[in-house]
């Protein structure tokens, strides 16, 4: 399974490379995880519940949405439904990641599915899935995120207090997305996709449950696909 260049030191394997590449993202995701932990505390989840929630669900945005809605006294069914809509982008990830993982054993597929999150997924896709051992690279990034998240949510739960809003810690996550997005904007297809999706997400921002994200993304993909179709036709195909 591990395709490692012969004689290369252990720590240069794709797994370690993924883990190393993830390290800068700790700066963005640790504070975010702390915020998730604090939110669970504020919504009167017990310490055991908070730990189990992070271990089983492993979804920062999903957990924040769920506990905030429960804390606000929403119907539990609605809280679960909202997290499903917020997390619907994970289905898009799942569909586009499937070819990468098709040849892997089923047990590994379960692990990869559990770890499917924004940064590890995007990092693996933009690294190029034809480079050696994308699955091991993905597991490396996923491991980095997993430890960051579990540690951060526990700390956030224990510290408990709401972090001062003036610190703008929540801005770290969009910044980490920017650092992932910018290198992908190499061709007009990608630029058109990003512009469409971004504008659509702003225009649809008043929709409930963050529905704008997945709708805008689909709209952006549709425009990008058309741009690609017409530009390759103009250049006589690729």
């Amino acid at each position: 399974m591990i395709t490692r260049a012969q004689g290369s030191p252990k720590f240069s394997s794709p797994f370690w490379q993924g883990l190393r590449d993830f390290l800068p993202f700790v700066v963005a995701l640790f504070p975010f995880s702390v915020i998730v932990g604090a939110a669970m505390n504020a919504a009167s989840f017990t310490q055991v519940q908070a730990v189990v929630f992070s271990l089983l669900a492993f979804t920062g945005t999903g957990q924040i949405v769920a506990v905030q809605m429960v804390g606000d006294g929403a119907l539990p069914v609605l809280a679960v439904l909202s997290t499903m809509i917020v997390n619907s982008r994970l289905a898009l990830y799942s569909a586009s990641f499937e070819p990468v993982i098709r040849a892997s054993p089923t047990r590994l597929k379960w692990l990869c599915a559990y770890l499917l999150t924004d940064q590890p997924y995007t990092m693996t896709m933009s690294r190029g899935v034809h480079r050696p051992a994308p699955v091991m690279y993905y597991l490396g990034t996923g491991t980095g995120l997993w430890f960051t998240y579990q540690g951060g949510t526990i700390l956030g739960y224990l510290v408990g207090v709401r972090l001062p809003a003036a610190w703008n810690l929540d801005f770290a996550v969009p910044l980490s997305f920017i650092s992932l997005l910018v290198p992908l904007l190499r061709h007009r297809t990608q630029v058109a996709t990003a512009l469409t999706s971004g504008i659509a997400a702003v225009l649809l921002a008043s929709l409930p449950f963050h529905l704008n994200i997945v709708l805008a993304a689909c709209f952006g993909m549709l425009v990008g696909w058309n741009v690609e179709r017409f530009s390759t036709r103009g250049e006589g195909g690729e």
Binding site: V27, L175, L184, S197
Partner: protein, 100 residues
């Protein structure tokens, strides 16, 4: 008790969302869909980021502390491809802009 049910339900539905295509997919997808799916990272990231830059905070609009800090950070990301530097510049600039 309600909390436990929510934990269970959110965990199961989240896992199914993640695993659906990975575990169930049997036949290869049509080429058009396959290509569209390569655009998923760009599309989702932009859908997340853009409203966050333009609509959040007290001074929402085209030019506000978040959008300026985000644009400069994007420039840093473009020039250096350095994640840590992008984060530091973005957070630092936002702190500066909101301090005054």
């Amino acid at each position: 008790m309600t909390n436990w049910w929510i934990i269970l339900a959110v965990s199961v539905t989240t896992f199914l969302t993640r695993a659906g295509f990975i575990l169930l997919s049997r036949r290869p997808l049509p080429e058009a869909i396959k290509f569209a799916l390569t655009l998923v990272p760009v599309a989702v990231l932009s859908a997340f980021v853009t409203p966050d830059l333009l609509l959040k905070g007290e001074q929402a609009g085209m030019l506000n502390p978040r959008s300026i800090a985000g644009l400069v950070a994007a420039g840093v990301a473009w020039r250096t491809r350095n994640v840590l530097l992008t984060l530091v510049v973005g957070m630092g600039l936002l702190a500066l802009l909101t301090a005054f």
